[in-house]
Symmetry: C2
Subunit: 215 residues, 2 copies
């Protein structure tokens, strides 16, 4: 019987990417279990996987004792409470709020509106999904840039990496997938560069995953 944690993910899923970064940052080893979101209509819809997550989404973190955690925000907060060091949240409540605001700008303000499920629904309805995605990415990144330009340091909130940076990096990757120009967001690009100087952020990149395909 294995006692390792398992992460059900997909190399290009931004939500799984966030969890990979947090795990790597905290030095936690996991077994990666790929769930192919495209092949055969999507393995996330298999009855076996839906039993793990009724939302039919990655990531799912399976703990040593078999408990299942879903939703990247809940997983990251759990990891921070269970493995507080090295920290991914500042200590001061107001700074923690700044981090969590940035997280939600991405997690509820952008990502749900440009994920695969929504893109397919839109295309079925004849809407140009890429324009739609760019609209919401731009709105969210503009808000993120403004807040960070005002209160950021080397990273999104202060001089240490936090949840906010973990959400930012995959969102910038997605923005490029939609061919968005990013020169309006100089602070975000500078922070992204600093993030990629850290081994945890490198390790979590899509192209470095066991199930990676050509980009």
């Amino acid at each position: 019987m294995s006692l390792a944690m398992k992460l059900y993910g997909y190399w290009r899923s931004s939500s799984a990417w966030r969890v990979r970064t947090a795990l790597a940052f905290k030095g936690l080893e996991v077994e990666h279990v790929p769930v192919h979101l495209v092949k055969g209509g999507g393995q996330q819809f298999s009855s076996e996987f839906v039993a793990k997550n009724p939302m039919a989404e990655v990531p799912v973190l399976e703990l040593d004792d078999g408990q299942l955690l879903t939703q990247s925000v809940a997983i990251l907060e759990y990891l921070e409470e269970a493995h507080p060091s090295p920290a991914l949240l500042p200590r001061e409540p107001l700074l923690r709020a700044r981090v969590r605001t940035l997280v939600q700008i991405v997690n509820s303000g952008i990502q749900p509106l440009q994920n695969r499920v929504v893109m397919s629904e839109l295309e079925r309805g004849g809407i140009v999904a890429d324009d739609w995605a760019r609209h919401f990415i731009k709105r969210g990144l503009t808000a993120f840039e403004q807040q960070v330009a005002r209160s950021g340091g080397a990273f999104s909130v202060g001089d240490a990496p936090s949840f906010a940076d973990i959400y930012l990096v995959p969102q910038l990757f997605n923005a490029r997938r939609f061919s968005m120009p990013l020169e309006e967001f100089p602070t975000l690009l500078r922070i992204e560069q600093r993030c990629y100087e850290l081994p945890a952020f490198q390790k979590a990149r899509p192209e470095n995953q066991v199930d990676a395909e050509p980009l």
Copy 2:
């Protein structure tokens, strides 16, 4: 100079409603500043308000010292840290994760996909927005129901109200606005009823707000 907190909200906004419930539950007094999301194309787009929140969304919580907090999740986590009693999160990390998962099922899994901005974009594109909204509400509430039927008690997680219930109640209200049948969700309806037995949940209802209009 006033020293009270101010909540910029709108009677029918589910995100503002969540913050109202948490404030009332913790016995915190605030000055309510209505921002009409419909009148005159939406007061949230005024330059004065966008300076407070570049996402042009309610709620915004303005603290005694003028600091501005946005995003309901960040505001609730802040209130819990700054005013821990009465608690809206359990103490055990795994139970806290259960709460936060349910919160995100609503906050990122449902609400962004059926809010006003998205509905208008869809209608411009000729998509039947109500069908779209019902699709995503049903997916999310089904996942919520399954998790709560398994691990809930009197409330969504255990026997005390938590963030999860605060997110559930406005989402059920929205489901009814989209004329969704709710008999598939008996556990959620039972929890909703218990919530409404609590004064904080009554006080936060849309129809009890200063800016309420006929439902």
